[in-house]
């Protein structure tokens, strides 16, 4: 069993790899420890060019299913292509990103294979017997649980994007490209995608932002959140939030960071008027530099900060904005 491969579903949309696909190839490589193969399954239409990145990230083999019916994701054709592959190759572990796509597809396959699936994992490790130990949040993140799949194979899991770092891409790495034969006929696919309308997005996604200015309940009002917008703007960053401001309607739900929100990893994270409760910090603990502004010197966020400022956000934040603006004007 220890020799069996680790398979990663290499999610792509509109011909672009989702970052989580590379994160998972990197993690699979680490789990494989050089002793067993890492295989990526790449499905789509006209996506052969993406195989190179998967090899560079650590895949030994890329299984490519390239077919017009696979252009826009649909459950059934994707499951129909992957099921025989999993059945035949019998991987030990199969990893999916916990995206809307991964969480639609993985359970369909798990049921068809009659195996276990763990949702939305925050960490993966191998126990001494080589069993995959999956860490998943439960009760909205109030508890974490370890889950294993002792007797069924493959061990399947969806993994939350951003919990593993992007692996370094080694362009010199090579691998084997295997083309899967695809016998899909459009007329036999019951589901039709009639329309795809992009939703308005912030110019920079929170997940990709290098600088995040996050506000909590201590900001006090929607008005005061504008102070954060101004600070974010001079830094070329994005505004994020804890849950209370989202519940209060001061900012949209897509900006929530934490257990039931997004996981972020910016270079700079400025925490303004938030206490640093673990449900929030689990989403931002990977930030490089953390600046905390809080009027309570005992707020737990200071345990996690690189620089701490005890004070009122309404005074400190505008002072920071002014100073950074000055430097910017000087061309710093």
């Amino acid at each position: 069993m220890a020799e069996a491969e680790i398979l990663v579903f290499a999610e792509q949309r509109d011909g672009q790899l989702e970052r989580v696909a590379l994160e998972l190839v990197g993690k699979a490589r680490a789990l494989a420890g050089g002793s067993r193969p890492v295989v990526a399954a790449l499905l789509g239409s006209g996506v052969e060019g993406l195989a190179g990145d998967l090899f560079a990230a650590g895949a030994d083999e890329v299984l490519l299913a390239d077919h017009p019916t696979l252009k826009v994701y649909r459950t059934q054709p994707y499951a129909d292509v992957l099921f025989p592959v999993l059945k035949e190759r019998q991987p030990d572990i199969v990893l999916f990103g916990a995206t809307s796509l991964g969480r639609d597809l993985a359970p369909r396959l798990a049921a068809r294979l009659g195996t276990g699936l763990t949702a939305d994992c925050l960490d993966l490790a191998l126990d001494p017997q080589g069993l995959l130990v999956q860490t998943k949040p439960s009760y909205g993140g109030n508890v974490l649980v370890h889950i294993t799949i002792p007797r069924h194979r493959p061990q399947m899991t969806t993994v939350r994007p951003r919990v593993f770092p992007l692996p370094p891409l080694d362009r010199a790495r090579q691998g084997k490209l295997v083309r899967l034969s695809v016998n899909l006929v459009e007329d036999q696919i019951p589901l039709k995608v009639l329309e795809v309308v992009p939703r308005p997005q912030p110019t920079v996604r929170l997940e990709d932002a290098a600088v995040i200015v996050a506000g909590g309940r201590g900001m006090g009002s929607k008005e005061n959140f504008k102070l954060l917008e101004e600070l974010a703007q001079v830094l070329g960053g994005v505004v994020g939030a804890t849950r209370p401001p989202v519940d209060e309607g001061w900012i949209g739900p897509d900006r929530q960071i934490g257990q039931s929100g997004k996981t972020v990893a910016p270079r700079l994270y400025i925490a303004c008027g938030l206490s640093g409760v673990v449900q929030h910090t689990v989403g931002m603990q990977k930030a490089d530099v953390v600046v905390a502004i809080n009027k309570d010197p005992n707020a737990p966020i200071f345990d996690l900060a690189t620089y701490g400022i005890v004070g009122d956000v309404k005074e400190i934040v505008p002072a920071l904005t002014a100073r950074f603006k000055e430097l910017k004007a000087k061309g710093a």
Binding site: P107, R108, A111, G116, Y139, H146, T306, G308, I316, L327
Partner: protein, 262 residues
Amino acid sequence: MRIIVCIKQVPASLDVRVDPKTHNLIREGVESVINPFDENAIEAALELKAKHGASVSLLSMGPPQVREALRKGLAMGADDAYLLCDRALAGADTLATSYTLAQAIRKMGSFDLILCGRHAVDADTGQVGPELAERLNLPQITYVSKIEITGNKVRAERLLEESREVVEAPLPALLTVTKELNTPRYPTALGIMKAAKKPLTVWTAADIGATPEKIGLTGSPTRVTDVFEPPGHRRSEVEMLSGKPEEIAAALAERLQAAKIL
């Protein structure tokens, strides 16, 4: 048209702690509610019933107290309810749950639409819907924020990370719904009175012809091996900056420049 809504009872508060010795969950109070997304599913079924005429059946697997959740759904306006209740079903993971629900649905007879919540807020997997669709060999549409039925087709809008997708599938189909779909109604006094007389059928594992190896803990490939509270995150030493706001700003700017962040 017949619509089956799968509902799960969940704790009213997710504010749970872990007993450091036994590693068991300590639940504050034992009050339970219908999983919020499942209420959206019930509401959607009732709106379709009002528009097209339909019978709405509720289905749940769980302990005897789940009757309360089913009664509430009946009071909202569902027509009948089925409870799968048996000690042998306890400890089921999503694979065993989907098997059990599928067995019951086969026994319940023909249907046009199955509605589930996008996920249950306690275990938060969102896997039972798609696994059930697979077992019944139905097209699935997840993350649904709008439903329209025309003839024997369902057209639905899906809310994805960066897009809205409009899809169409033939009936019967299984949909998992989001809270953006609607606002669930409250039961009226009249509804509550009527609910007491509506049929609520209780089935055991044997009643639905379930294979013992496929249900409950025995039928579940996944095992919970540990339960714990998230560890706090702590860094090495924090440097406190103090002074007037302008002085603090200057000190911070200097450090961020030195770290090449500015």
